[in-house]
């Protein structure tokens, strides 16, 4: 579904991603892991076209993404939930959800009911301003907003950061449901082990901008964890 | 390039050539005018002498702009205002020198004041019958204006585009003020019909030749003064301010003070240039304050190459030569040419014509690009401890 090959990225002179490879098979739930500053968010931004790549390729269902404008991702069916949610604070919940409606591939211009089935809370808050929601509610709104596009790949950057535990659990449930029932491929960045182990089917660890370990989630042993993720 | 201990003038071969050419002009042109007879094909008429004198004055203005723009990143789109103020100060002296030889024959009041029925000389004209006083004003008034304007602008941390816009506003406001007939500066007619300067007839070839030589000396002197500034430690600080202002501030440098000093010095050079311009041209009026003049001056610097000093001067001479030719041969075309020149220079020649000099091409190649030239192997060798100087 998504294949990243030999990707190199620089912030000015600082070499942040070194020949990174990542393969997200269709229907999988890939978890990108690694400590802070190791390149996870940068990699996602490169995939989403928010950061220019120096060299390497990013292919999504056969189309080359590197070098194309960021807007293309939404049209191709990639939904993105950025770190920190970034919902539109001055728009209502309903307006936030409606933002992506114009891009739905030929479908009706109506917010899919599915989103309210997954997040019933949102239905109750349609007229509430995005900025007035709690962190957990904003996270649900951000995911809902991405789902409006009916994407085939959903990318989530640290969806549980700063969220209360019960909503973390709900988010995990939603991700699993979408993947199992609708075959939605998921790429998420996550640092918390329990969530990763529960939700992901594969893992890939970045350390200092390089890929250092990868495999099915079952292989995420304590040894690997100690080597690359803990202090 | 800074190396401690190297003599100032040898820094830049192009700069030395510039001074040599200037000296040549100052020697040859007077000869062509004074020594050769009028019938000789190489004879330089008074018109020609005046034209070259005018170019050199513009060259000084360009120098003043390059000092603050090329080296400190301060883009003043109103610098012709200081040029004009210097010109007006000189003009006031020349008007008073006319004395009773004016149309109305009033020994004290210039013609335009008599025409307006003024009974006495306004207070700000006092003293302008003394040459030294007038020259002091040529320096002091632009300096004062620059100081006040700069103090407010720099202290408020107005920079970049916003600063440029308010300099345009400054020159425009001055133009409107000087156009007013009751301001006491001759209104829309300005000052003209000058008779002599320090007793020398302003219509004689000899006077024009001397003025030309004086202008050349002033230009050379300004160039050397600017060079001394930019090659000093203060000059390096100024360049640092241009490139990374907050970093300079963070290092403890009083950024506003540096900018202010530079801005005032630049205004003084422009003022002196204006003062030398007026006796040669024979007229000064408020259109010298027109915003377009300042913009043209900036184009001269851009075409010539900013950040080189001599490039700016060369640009001024070249563009004005082109203007003289085109407004004579194809007058409608000039404005298009000016605009096209600006666009072309911005797109294709960011370093101006001076950037085409071989030494500078070499320097640009050596320092170009955002990606470091060294590859990983070099860096590894570096880290292990080999200390080789770059080529």
């Amino acid at each position: 579904m998504l294949a990243v090959n030999a990707l190199n990225h620089f912030y000015g002179g600082s070499h942040t991603l070194w020949d990174v490879n990542l393969n997200v098979p269709p229907g999988s739930r890939m978890c990108l892991m690694g400590r802070n500053g190791m390149g996870k968010t940068t990699l996602l931004k490169c995939i989403m076209g928010l950061q220019p790549v120096r060299s390497g390729s990013i292919t999504f269902q056969g189309s080359e993404l590197a070098g194309s404008p960021a807007e293309r991702r939404a049209r191709l069916g990639i939904g993105y939930v950025p770190q920190g949610r970034e919902i539109f604070p001055h728009l209502t919940v309903a307006e936030n959800l409606r933002v992506g409606l114009g891009l739905r591939p030929g479908g009706p211009r109506k917010i899919p009911d599915r989103i309210f089935e997954l997040f019933p809370m949102l239905a109750r808050m349609l007229k509430r301003r995005g900025g007035d929601l709690s962190g957990g509610q904003q996270q649900q709104l951000a995911i809902g907003r991405a789902l409006v596009l009916e994407p085939s790949l959903l990318i989530l950057d640290e969806p549980t950061e700063g969220i209360q535990p019960n909503i973390v659990h709900e988010i995990g449930d939603v991700v699993l449901k979408l993947n199992q029932e609708e075959r939605l491929t998921v790429l998420l960045v996550e640092q918390k082990l329990p969530f990763a182990r529960r939700v992901a089917s594969e893992f890939c660890i970045l350390n200092k901008g390089r890929r250092v370990a990868a495999g099915p989630i079952g292989e995420l042993s304590d040894e690997v964890v100690n080597a690359h993720l803990s202090v | 390039m800074f190396r401690p201990g190297r003599p100032l003038l040898l820094h830049d071969r192009a700069g030395t050539w510039f001074l040599a050419v200037l000296a040549l002009v100052a020697l040859v042109v007077p000869l062509l005018n004074q020594v050769l007879s009028a019938s000789s094909p190489l004879h330089m008429s008074q018109y020609g002498v005046t034209l070259i004198g005018k170019y050199l004055c513009y060259g000084m203005l360009a120098l003043a702009i390059d000092l603050i723009w090329g080296y400190c990143g301060i883009l003043s789109l109103g610098h012709a205002a200081f040029f004009a103020i210097g010109g007006y100060a000189m003009g006031m002296y020349l008007m008073r020198e006319i004395g009773p030889r004016g149309v109305y024959g009033n020994p004290v009041l210039p013609d335009f004041m008599v025409f307006l029925n003024w009974k006495s000389l306004p207070w700000f004209w006092y003293g302008f019958n003394h040459f030294l006083f007038a020259m002091a004003m040529v320096v002091a008034v632009p300096a004062l204006l620059a100081w006040i304007f700069g103090w407010f602008a720099f202290r408020s941390r107005v920079t970049g585009v916003y600063f440029s816009i308010i300099t345009q506003a400054l020159t425009y406001a001055l133009m409107l003020a000087f156009f007013r007939n009751n301001m006491g500066f001759g209104g829309n007619n300005g000052f003209t019909d000058f008779k002599d300067i320090l007793g020398f007839d302003l219509h004689s070839d000899g006077t024009h030749v001397v003025l030309l030589v004086l202008t050349a000396i002033a230009l050379a002197g300004s160039y050397l003064a600017c060079l001394a500034i930019v090659e000093s430690r203060a000059g390096r600080v100024i360049r640092a301010i241009r490139d990374a202002e907050s970093r300079s501030r963070f290092l403890g440098y009083p950024v506003e003070s540096f900018k202010l000093w530079l801005f005032v010095f630049s205004a003084v050079i422009a003022g002196i240039a204006g003062a030398l311009y007026v006796p040669q041209i024979g007229i000064i009026n408020p259109s010298e304050f027109a915003p377009i003049n300042s913009i043209e001056a900036v184009i001269w610097v851009a075409v010539g190459g900013r950040g080189t000093l001599y490039g700016a001067t060369a640009g001024a001479v070249l563009v004005n030569y082109g203007k003289t030719y085109l407004t004579g041969a194809f007058p409608e075309v000039w404005l298009y040419v000016l605009g096209a020149l600006f666009v072309l220079v911005t797109l294709l020649l960011p370093r101006g014509i001076a950037g085409l000099i071989p030494a500078r091409i070499k320097e640009a190649k050596r320092t170009a690009g955002g990606t470091p030239k060294m590859d990983r192997a070099d860096i590894k060798a570096e880290a292990i401890g080999s200390n080789e100087s770059p080529s």
């Binding site: 000015g12 802070n36 500053g37 640092q191 | 390096r236 600080v237 640092a240 860096i379 200390n387 770059p390």
Partner: protein
């Protein structure tokens, strides 16, 4: 046993928009010590540095430099003059000046326009610049323009510029981000060579780098110190493991 410490941070609390960036942070730094501060995103590392340098004022708590300088009463410029130098993550050397000129810019000494106009490089200044060039390993590159330096070299130059002010305390923010392995090694050597003469606080995420330079590691989480000791001790601390891994 009372000893004069270089830095005393006690009970620092800073709130931004309702959330606490620092929540009762207490930390002491010894003279000549090199310590590393680590912690997840939002732990308060940058805010702590901001308080030390005077960029942010805490709502509560004290910050003393040595036993007699109250940092909370000084302006940012005064704190720099008092001997605290900070290096930010992205190198900000002067690209159009040479390495030598960059160091000259940073040298202690007069800053007025008129004085710098007439300034000549004194023998003492030249010596100091040579000294620093040697420490940062750029002696062979003194005439290279800032912009042609490799990323690592720019970082070292910037450290060099800080050293020109003879600071007693160096605050260094993520110095090795984006560096090649060789550069990282060289940076570790550089920082270790400064230990003893200067107190150094390094914020980093690269754990192998941290291990190579720090005898003492301090872990911040949610605005306070949760662990403080050598690398092995901190690695095994269950609170640290929970904070980094969620287990």
């Amino acid at each position: 046993m009372l000893r004069d410490k270089r830095l005393y941070l006690e009970d620092l609390t800073v709130s931004f928009d309702g959330s606490k960036a620092l929540n009762g942070l207490t930390l002491y730094v010894e003279p000549g010590e090199l310590l590393c501060v680590i912690g997840p995103n939002g732990a308060g590392k940058t805010t702590m540095m901001d308080v030390i340098t005077g960029k942010t004022r805490p709502d509560y708590g004290t910050a003393w430099f040595g036993s007699d300088i109250d940092l909370l009463k000084l302006s940012e410029a005064e704190i720099v003059a008092a001997g605290i130098a900070r290096k930010f993550q992205r190198p900000t050397v002067f690209e159009q000046l040479t390495v030598f000129e960059n160091l000259e810019m940073a040298s202690a000494g007069c800053r007025s326009f008129l004085k710098t106009l007439r300034a000549r490089l004194t023998a003492a200044e030249k010596e100091r610049i040579e000294e620093v060039l040697e420490i940062i390993g750029l002696s062979g590159h003194r005439w290279a323009l800032g912009r042609v330096l490799a990323h690592g070299q720019k970082q070292w130059l910037e450290i060099g510029m800080l050293l020109m002010q003879n600071p007693e305390l160096l605050l260094v923010d993520e110095p090795v981000a984006g560096m090649t392995p060789a550069e990282i090694e060289r940076t570790a050597e550089l920082l270790l060579s400064l230990e003893g003469e200067h107190s150094i606080v390094v914020v980093e995420h690269d754990m192998s780098f941290v291990r190579s330079i720090a005898r003492r590691v301090v872990v911040l989480h949610e605005g306070r110190v949760i662990a403080d000791g050598d690398m092995d001790k901190v690695q095994r601390d269950p609170r640290v493991i929970e904070v980094y891994l969620g287990v």
